[in-house]
Structure formats: structure tokens, C-alpha cells
């Protein structure tokens, strides 16, 4: 993909549909000096959903619902990447250190499009889910079978790098397909209201802030291996983005 097309692809869908070709063309003409403005412009628009024009009714809400699930997927991948510090868990056996998940799950529940209560629609939804998630299901099954087969009990060098890369490719692919499922599901389901999405974004932002705090507290108390400054920074950024977008939805 050319850099100019990549820049245009970073804009929210409604903007891309209208001016994607023109943005790409202007970035291509102006060269590298236009990149900072193009990137800042895309970032500013993502932080202000009330600035998106709508091609179809509910388009902004649809994109926001998917974006919130993408944030949750990113948060899940991040906690895995940091090798789960002791202060941040995702398990019922450690309720105190898993507290950050509560507002995030509540937010996910609010952001989820309401399931249609008709047999035909539910059957259609199940078909879409099976089609969308069959790829990740196969990938996860292959990964588990490979691990259990014990073909490479102590991989080293290129084999180790390949296995780690494969593991992350499967996790990222699964996260991406889950977001695709929400996108496809949102086309037919009843979308949450703007008010509900705002509450969802605030809750998810609060959960991410809590996670960032949980990563930092052990560092302040100098507990080795319990916290993670990089993870705290990543969660803080995600929280700031989510809360800013939620705040923007308060605009009339």
C-alpha cells in the first residue's frame, strides 16, 4: 500500500468515503511534509466522533461500537504481551487485581448492538458468526494441537522466533475477526443509542485507567516484577483516547 493511500485509510469511514481519494492524492502531491498534518487530522477526527458526517443513519454509532470493541481487543492483547504482571490479572481467582475488567465488561455490554429477537434473524446471526470465526477457530486449534504434540519441546533460534510470531499472528487474527463480527452484526442488529455508547466509552475508559493505575502502584511500592511502566503508559493512552471520544459525544 502506498503511504498516501495508507494515510487516507487512517480516517474514519465516513470521511474516507467522501474524501479518501482526494486526501490520498493531496498527500501524494505534497509529499512527506504533509504527513504530520494528515496524521494529526485523522487522529483529531477519531477523537471527535461528533465531527463525522453520516452517509447512512446510525453510521457513527456503528463505527463507534466497533471501535470500542477494537479498544477492548487491544487491551487484551496488551496484557498478554506484557506477560501478565502480578498486579494485573484477568481471573476470578484474583478478584482484587482483576477489578479493572468489571467496568470494561460492563462497557462492552452497553456498546454491544442489541440482538434481534426473531428466530430468522438469530439464525442469520449464527451463520455470520460461524463464517467469521471459523478461520480463527481453526488457527487456534492448530496452535493448541502443535503445542500439545510436543514436536518442538525446547525451540531455539529461528524455530522459537517462528513459533512466537505464529502465536501472535493467531491472537491478532482472532482479535481482528472478532471486530469484523461486530461490524457485520451491527449492520442488522439494533444499535446502541449515542447516550449508551457514551456511557460505554466512559466505563471502558475508567477500566483502562484502573488497569494503568494497577500497573503503576507496585512500581511505586518497588515490588519487582509486579508492575509494568510500558503497559501503564499503553493503557493510559487507550484510556485517554476513549474518555476524550466519550466526552465529545456529550456535545449536542
Amino acid at each position: 500500500m502506498r503511504p498516501s493511500a495508507l494515510m487516507a485509510s487512517l480516517y474514519p469511514p465516513a470521511v474516507r468515503e467522501r474524501w479518501g481519494a482526494e486526501i490520498s492524492s493531496q498527500v501524494s502531491e505534497s509529499g512527506i511534509r504533509s504527513w504530520p498534518d494528515a496524521l494529526l487530522g485523522a487522529g483529531r477526527l477519531w477523537l471527535h466522533p461528533s465531527d463525522w458526517p453520516e452517509t447512512t443513519d446510525g453510521q457513527t454509532r456503528q463505527v463507534l461500537a466497533v471501535a470500542l470493541f477494537a479498544v477492548i481487543a487491544a487491551a487484551a492483547l496488551l496484557v498478554r504481551a506484557a506477560n501478565q504482571p502480578v498486579a494485573l490479572t484477568a481471573s476470578l481467582r484474583h478478584p482484587a487485581t482483576s477489578l479493572w475488567l468489571a467496568p470494561i465488561l460492563l462497557g462492552a455490554g452497553l456498546a454491544a448492538p442489541a440482538p434481534p429477537l426473531r428466530w430468522r434473524a438469530l439464525r442469520g446471526l449464527a451463520t455470520v458468526a460461524a463464517r467469521t470465526l471459523s478461520g480463527p477457530a481453526v488457527a487456534v486449534a492448530v496452535m493448541i494441537m502443535t503445542a500439545r504434540a510436543g514436536v518442538l519441546p525446547h525451540p531455539v533460534g529461528h524455530a522459537r522466533i517462528g513459533l512466537i510470531a505464529g502465536y501472535w499472528a493467531v491472537l491478532s487474527f482472532t482479535a481482528l475477526r472478532l471486530c469484523t463480527l461486530i461490524t457485520r452484526y451491527a449492520r442488522t442488529a439494533r444499535l446502541p443509542t449515542t447516550r449508551r455508547l457514551r456511557s460505554a466509552a466512559m466505563l471502558i475508559g475508567a477500566g483502562l485507567s484502573l488497569a494503568a493505575g494497577q500497573c503503576l502502584v507496585p512500581l511505586i511500592w518497588t515490588v519487582p516484577g509486579a508492575g509494568s511502566p510500558a503497559l501503564a503508559l499503553a493503557y493510559s493512552l487507550l484510556a485517554a483516547v476513549t474518555i476524550t471520544a466519550a466526552h465529545d459525544l456529550r456535545q449536542p
Partner: protein, 103 residues
């Protein structure tokens, strides 16, 4: 550039007639001496359309397919007039304070 400034510039140019992105930027360059970056220009157009201060012009033919021509709405004209009148008041007060007679 501040997003509100970019929106005012785009509205000012559109008040003169419907234009597409490139033409808007060329007119802004004639007016201010420099073009807006793509993020500032299309961000401003998005905000203006979302707030119903600008809308796509009813154009037909080849040009309409390639570029999206935009035009100012009545609400856009009202907002632009109010902003320009306020800026004119500030400008006159500033020039008076400097001892310069406003043109």
C-alpha cells in the same frame, strides 16, 4: 492550524460559490498565502458537513464523480457572518488602540 480557523477559511471561500477540495485549497492559498494541509482541510470539511454548515452541491457529470463539490448552507452563512462581524469588531478595537484609523 487550529481547526476553528480552518473551518472559517473554508466557509469564507465557499461563501463565494461551490468548490471541491482542490479548488477550496487554491482559493485559501490566494487569500492567505499558504495552503491547508490535507488533515486540516478535510477535517474542516467533515466538521462543517456534520454541523450542517456546508453540504454537497448538486452537481452532475464527470467532475461530480471525481471530486466532491461542496457549498455553504444558510446556517453556514449565518455562522460565518456572525464570526466575521465579531472579528471586525475586534479588529477595529485593536486598530483604534494602536492609533491606526481602520480602513
Amino acid at each position: 492550524m487550529h481547526s476553528a480557523d480552518a473551518q472559517m477559511l473554508v466557509l469564507t471561500v465557499l461563501a463565494d460559490g461551490p468548490r471541491h477540495g482542490y479548488a477550496i485549497n487554491t482559493a485559501i492559498e490566494e487569500l492567505t498565502g499558504r495552503k491547508l494541509g490535507p488533515g486540516s482541510l478535510y477535517g474542516a470539511l467533515s466538521r462543517l458537513e456534520a454541523r450542517k454548515l456546508a453540504r454537497p452541491a448538486d452537481t452532475a457529470g464527470e467532475a461530480a464523480g471525481r471530486h466532491r463539490t461542496m457549498q455553504i448552507t444558510d446556517a453556514g452563512r449565518a455562522v460565518l457572518r456572525a464570526e466575521l462581524e465579531q472579528m471586525a469588531r475586534v479588529s477595529q478595537a485593536g486598530l483604534r488602540a494602536l492609533g491606526t484609523t481602520p480602513a
